[in-house]
């Protein structure tokens, strides 16, 4: 039987919302600025605009081979290039949930909610596995 206490929402919900709000705004602003730098040619792209329409209809493996574009974490080395500078905003957007889950982990530990803490830890491990490129390495 559920008790009155069971119907309370997570105490971390508002903090989670605030982190997401600021983080996604930051990600979008970065994306707008870097795309402007890219599109107006202020930052030289790795894959030139002239070649891009030839490449974007190719399958991924062929695109990587012909364009010389990096896979894995290779984009970090190319952040000064117009096209790859856009990855800053994209990486911020794809990292926000990880940041929120770190906070959630400490909140659940503090509340001694063991089962939920385990689920949160598994999710954090999944984020690390997906972003690390260790499980499915891409050579380039």
């Amino acid at each position: 039987m559920m008790t009155q206490l069971d119907y309370k929402n997570s105490s971390f919900q508002n903090t989670y919302a605030q982190i997401l709000n600021w983080g996604s705004a930051l990600g979008l602003i970065c994306m707008l600025i870097t795309f402007a730098l890219y599109a107006f040619g202020i930052l030289e792209p790795l894959v030139s605009f002239e070649k891009l329409p030839e490449y974007w209809s190719l399958p991924l493996s062929e695109y990587l081979e012909k364009s010389g574009a990096p896979a894995g974490w290779g984009w970090v080395e190319n952040l000064s290039r117009g096209d790859y500078s856009n990855y800053i905003g994209i990486a911020i957007l794809t990292s926000m949930t990880f940041v929120c889950y770190i906070g959630l982990f400490f909140d659940q530990i503090r509340q001694r909610k063991i089962l939920i803490t385990i689920l949160v830890v598994i999710e954090l491990v999944l984020f690390i596995v997906a972003s690390s490129n260790l499980l499915f390495p891409v050579g380039h």
Binding site: N9, L20, N21, S57, L60
Partner: protein, 310 residues
């Protein structure tokens, strides 16, 4: 006024993909021309996605992969980031209003995100074997989504007499305030094990095709598990921010993210969704939903034809 708006909207909604389709992917257009058309198309997708009550990702992947020259690998990567961006934009408000439940999203998103990694890998592998496999399966899936959209019913307040053992163990319950009446609604869920199991499939499909999975999440949470409709819709939208994060990293690591597709699409879809939310009270959602179903049907058929090289 309403009928004029609906007619003009339908015309506009079909015009841009129609023009691109008529031109074909060999259309001699500079890169920025495609960027502008992509922005306009995603603006309309965002607008209609909100009006029809579905996420933009489910419209984006079949339409853009069928009518634009981009390879489906890049379209799926962009589709995931679009679904992620839309979810991140909506989640803070939904969480603050207690409509999206963090407690419910934790186990749901864990299962879906684990299997979205599997789905992303299957999708990229299938595409490397033969892109027609993925294009054809996408077409079939879109037609199935059309059937689900036509058949699925919803229940505003499903009757859940008592949460089951697993729901109690995971604390899957909460409270929210009804906007119109100010009444406090308490909710919990049942059939938790079978409901959570369904998210295995949702995760695989989301990762494999780069689709947001609101079309599947909402019926599972609402009709199967018994969450109130508002909780189901909002938690589904929020949980996409968790599920799509893992799959998006797989596409990012594989190099399947092209900023020229991703950035105009995210900006377009968010601008469209913003305008859509403002005009929502003035349009008939059922009519819009029917139009979206027709467009999905066309995109599904077009995907299958493209898979056969027609």
């Amino acid at each position: 006024m309403r009928s004029k708006f609906t007619f003009l909207s339908l015309l506009l909604f079909l015009l841009i993909p129609g023009l691109v389709f008529a031109g074909g992917s060999d259309l001699d257009m500079p890169w920025w021309g495609w960027g502008i058309i992509l922005f306009l198309t995603t603006f309309i997708i965002g607008l209609f996605g909100v009006l029809a009550g579905i996420g933009g990702g489910v419209l984006f992947v079949p339409l853009v992969s069928s009518f634009f020259p981009f390879h489906i690998d890049f379209v799926r990567g962009a589709g995931l980031l679009i679904a992620l961006g839309s979810s991140l934009a909506a989640a803070p408000t939904l969480l603050k209003k207690d409509l999206a439940s963090l407690k419910l999203a934790i186990p749901v998103a864990l299962i879906a995100s684990a299997f979205s990694i599997v789905g992303a890998m299957i999708g990229l592998w299938l595409s490397s074997v033969n892109p027609a496999f993925i294009q054809g399966s996408l077409g079939v899936l879109i037609l199935m989504i059309v059937v689900i959209m036509l058949m699925a019913k919803s229940s505003i307040y499903p009757v859940v007499k008592e949460g089951d053992y697993l729901a109690g163990l995971l604390g899957l319950s909460g409270t929210y305030k009804e906007g119109a009446t100010g009444k406090e609604v308490r909710w919990t869920v049942h059939r938790t094990a079978i409901g959570l199991f369904c998210f295995v499939l949702v995760g695989v499909l989301a990762g494999m095709f780069g689709l947001g999975a609101g079309w599947a999440n909402v019926p599972i949470l609402n009709l199967l598990m018994g969450a109130p409709l508002k909780i189901a819709v909002a938690t589904s939208s929020f949980s996409l921010s968790i599920t799509d994060t893992t799959a998006a990293w797989v596409y990012l690591n594989k190099g399947a993210v092209l900023p020229i597709i991703v950035v105009p699409s995210i900006m377009g879809i968010m601008a469209g969704a913003n305008i859509g939310a403002r005009i929502l009270p003035r349009v008939k959602p059922t009519l819009i939903r029917k139009m979206v179903i027709i467009v999905l049907l066309l995109a599904g058929v077009r995907s299958i034809l493209k898979a056969f090289g027609i």
